[in-house]
Amino acid sequence: MELNPIISVNDLHFSYPKRPVLEGVDFTLNRGEIVSLLGPNGCGKSTLIRLILKLIHPSQGEIWLDNKTIDRYSHREIAKHIAYIPQYNNVPFNYSVLEMVMMGRVAKHGFFVAPSAKDKEVAYESLRQIGIENLTYRTFGQLSGGQKQMVLLARALTQEVNTFIMDEPVSGLDYGNQIRLLELISDLARQGYTFLKTTHYPDHALMVSSRVVVMNEGKIIANGKPEEVITSSMIREIYGIEADLINYNRHTWCIPTFSKGVL
């Protein structure tokens, strides 16, 4: 596959006062990839995502988005290239699902311009594409975690972009919803969307990634095909636990070794 970079990050540094978070990160996201950012808590995954979205500013280094550095984009222009799906959270007001999804259209319009019938049509179409049109008039705050995450995916679709960035998409979801969401992501990836997602689970990185980037202590320590990057020694290094990688059903799975013995 010919490499077609959407996002390139060169020698990126970021630090809070007295605490460095990222130290010299180089990273590229190419069109059509599903890249999983894997690493322990506090390794800098979320910081890297927030830097790419220009929510915070690097202390050193450059971020390129489609041949321009990110500081030459407004947030509105970035939203026309990248859709961000945050971890689902509580909203203060009881917006309906349709209202939540329509919010994805805000970057398409001028300051004092109200959303049109076309925006509503795009919102309905996105809900259909995710398969949750039955939720259209429900209250967002009363949905389950998995449903909320799917609504946020539908909202991202209304931005009509090809690149999605997800922060811990499965966090807080029950087991069934985790798997359903991962299946939905791989469906969308097959339709040509590019994904960058952070994850805590080596398993999920093995299941739904074309490439895995492993971070630890503010640096990228491995970058490559999932089966090559996720190894017993890497798990030991970044998480401090033992795990076996086994092949089953034409797929590699990560099984932690429970040191106390299974009860």
Partner: protein, 339 residues
Amino acid sequence: MRRIKPIGWIGGSVILLILIATLSLLWGQYPISLETLISYLQFKLLGGSGNETYTLLDNIILQIRLPRVLLAILIGASLATSGAAFQAMFVNPLVSPGILGVLAGAAFGAALGMLISEHWYVVQILAFIFGFIAVGVAILIGSMVTNSRSTIMLVLGGVISGSLFTALLSIIKYVADPYSTLPTIVYWLMGSLTMADLSGVLLISVPMLLSIGGMILMGKYFDILSLGDEEAKALGVNVIMVRLIAIILATIASSLSVVMAGIIGWVGLIIPHIIRMAIGPSHRLLMPLSAIVGGAFLLLADTISRLALSVEVPIGILTSLIGIPVFIIVLKNARAAWN
């Protein structure tokens, strides 16, 4: 699911507003019948032979009741839209238009004007200017600390700025002549629409309507700002600019309301809550409905304050008396709209 369409809500509330406005024009110490009002309007709009009653009606309607009706609507609409905008921006149900200190600043400015000058326009200009100064102080304090959630610092800045100008107001009260200036200041602070005159109302209606209209058109941003700054930015919203424009518009509307009628509390706090309970939280409908219902509410309160007792009750007292029980009911049912 919505049973009533947005256009139905807007139409219904406009009819309610017109109804209250008509009653307010008719009722008073000199009652006017509906027939008289209609024939008077025909005479005014279409011309024709007038009689002596119309001269009297000119006086009562054009000079006294109409300016007051228009002012009540404008101020109610200003306070309610400012309150709705701030509640979304600060993601807090207890926020009212005074959160950034604008009312305290404007009250101080007005009192200062009464102390140093006998001209009413000096009082009004100082009220407007100090309303803006107080908000400026709040923003300055709020922006001194970076690396924190900016809205919380902004609210703290507003609390500090509000306290500062309340203290300065106390100084003015302390040094004011207790037999002439002090009663004027105290009465002013209770809020009243008695100062309404047609030319003054028409003059301030332009900036007030522009501010209200601007805030209504920004409804889509208030929806998104309530999700938090980072999500709003990622969706493509220029958070700082949207917030600044909303604060400027709300400050213009609120300080002009103090300029014309002193401090009128509770309208900006309760009206958005009531609307949200009825129609849900989407600000694209919440903002225009807050404006219309806020105007209708203050007009109704003012009409009651004119008629209920032989002595006119300052409207600020009345809105508080109505507002407190309503707010308790609203808080009890707040789950309907707030998570």
